[in-house]
């Protein structure tokens, strides 16, 4: 890559003075520095970005614009699901089998991508106890929640200026003694 850039610059140099060419050459290390700086940043391009992971994600999951996955609130229409959030609540009421256990309290967030066709993938989970500390819930709870999330097929493609876009959506499950008591947002 570096060689290609150098050859291009040399060709370009035939059209510019030697002073300008040297100036451009001097910029190359700076360009590299800028790139390294971004790579070394502790932040992703956007907060909460979910990169493709071949161990977890579907290879055939299609995105309209991989480089610009937006947020569910970016079109100011909130959560958009066929039958509204009530349909999601009813899915969980039907499918989730509570695991009665007084130690299973807190929040579980499942975040994922809804593509421009309304399909979903790249599911990721975080969880906390009632004091906002990381918590590992009973696997039977998290796995059920994840599976039911994956089965939800009513996500509506979101539009902004008449153009459909891919977006990040999340669902938070409030768990009390192994029961789902609320679903957010």
């Amino acid at each position: 890559m570096f060689k290609v850039v150098l050859i291009m610059l040399q060709k370009f140099a035939t059209h510019v003075s030697s002073f300008k060419f040297n100036y451009l050459l001097a910029l190359i290390p700076l360009m590299g520095y800028c790139q390294t700086e971004k790579q070394n940043s502790k932040y992703l391009k956007s907060v909460g970005d979910i990169a493709f992971d071949s161990l977890m994600d579907r290879r055939d999951f299609f995105l309209c614009n991989e480089k610009d996955i937006m947020q569910y609130h970016n079109n100011s229409r909130g959560l958009e699901y066929r039958g509204e959030k009530l349909a999601i609540i009813e899915s969980f009421e039907k499918k989730y089998v509570p695991i009665p256990d007084s130690s299973q309290n807190g929040l579980i967030r499942v975040r994922f991508v809804v593509n421009c066709k309304g399909q979903t993938d790249r599911f990721r989970i975080i969880a906390m106890d009632e004091d906002y500390q990381t918590k590992k819930f009973d696997e039977r709870i998290t796995q059920q929640i994840l599976d039911i999330c994956k089965s939800l097929d009513g996500w509506l493609p979101k539009k902004k200026e008449d153009k459909e876009f891919d977006y990040y959506q999340y669902l938070i499950f409030k768990i009390q003694s192994g029961q789902i008591t609320e679903i957010l947002p």
Partner: protein, 264 residues
């Protein structure tokens, strides 16, 4: 309707950047310099550039609370309760002015009723007045938020007591959903006359599909069939005109869905 509400409250939502000169006046140069460095940040709050810009402000002044608050917003909106709480706690630690914001967000985004009540009651103790602030979007007085939290914890009478006390203050101007929240609490303890009264009050302030739905329920319970059907129809009509409780991030407390209204 949704847009009207959204645009109406926009100035409150975006107000947050402190006046840097206050720090200078207090001879706090470090905080003044940090504040000036983020006076106009041209990046979206989710972006790396935005986060890094505020990190730099914190390098200038590690106790610049606004930077922690600003950084926390994207985590809040993406549902990352772990990172959000760490950052907003830092903001509150360095400046208690962020306590009202933390209280509201605990309720709105994470339905942390007990946590929100604790923050709001702390505010009340500190301020010793009812003027403790509003929700981030300005729709709810924080005492209404406290009442909603108690209602969610199934302490309906406590919720009613807080709201009645607040509304009895002649200087208090009712918010867009205040009377509705009180009406629903009365409905839940089966005081249908009081519920009806506050539904009527709500209609005057902001006629909502949800409000008409509860009026339809009361009419149905009382056996007023014609009135029930008419109110149900009105509720559905309002819903289809998007005159319902809406927030672009989360759902309102006691929101009612179209399917629920149709099945009444």
């Amino acid at each position: 309707m949704k847009w009207i509400i959204f645009i109406f409250f926009l100035p409150i939502c975006v107000a947050g950047q402190p006046n840097c000169n206050v720090f200078l006046y207090n001879k706090d140069t470090a905080q003044y310099n940090a504040c000036k460095s983020v006076e106009s940040v041209p990046y979206y709050q989710y972006t790396r550039n935005y986060q890094e810009k505020f990190d730099k402000a914190l390098e200038i002044c590690p106790y610049f609370a606004f930077a922690y608050s600003a950084k926390s917003t994207a985590y809040l909106k993406s549902g990352d309760f772990l990172t959000w709480k760490y950052l907003i706690d830092k903001a509150v630690q360095f400046d208690s002015i962020y306590l009202d914001y933390r209280a509201w967000c605990r309720y709105q985004f994470f339905r942390d009723y007990k946590g929100a009540i604790a923050d709001i009651e702390l505010l009340e103790r500190r301020k010793k007045t009812k003027e403790i602030g509003y929700s981030a979007g300005g729709e709810y007085h924080l005492l209404v938020a406290k009442a909603m939290c108690y209602s969610a914890l199934n302490q309906k009478n406590k919720a009613i007591e807080i709201l009645e006390d607040l509304f009895s203050d002649s200087t208090y101007q009712a918010g867009l959903f205040d009377y509705y929240q009180l009406a629903v609490s009365y409905f839940q303890i089966k005081d249908y006359d009081k519920a009806w009264k506050y539904c009527l009050e709500q209609s005057k302030v902001n006629n909502l599909a949800e409000n008409k739905y509860y009026m339809a329920r009361i009419s149905k319970i009382k056996g007023n069939t014609q009135e029930y059907l008419s109110l149900k129809e009105e509720s559905i009509l309002l819903y289809k005109k998007e005159k319902y409780m809406f927030d672009p991030y989360t759902e309102h407390f006691n929101k009612v869905y179209l399917d629920t209204i149709e099945k009444l």
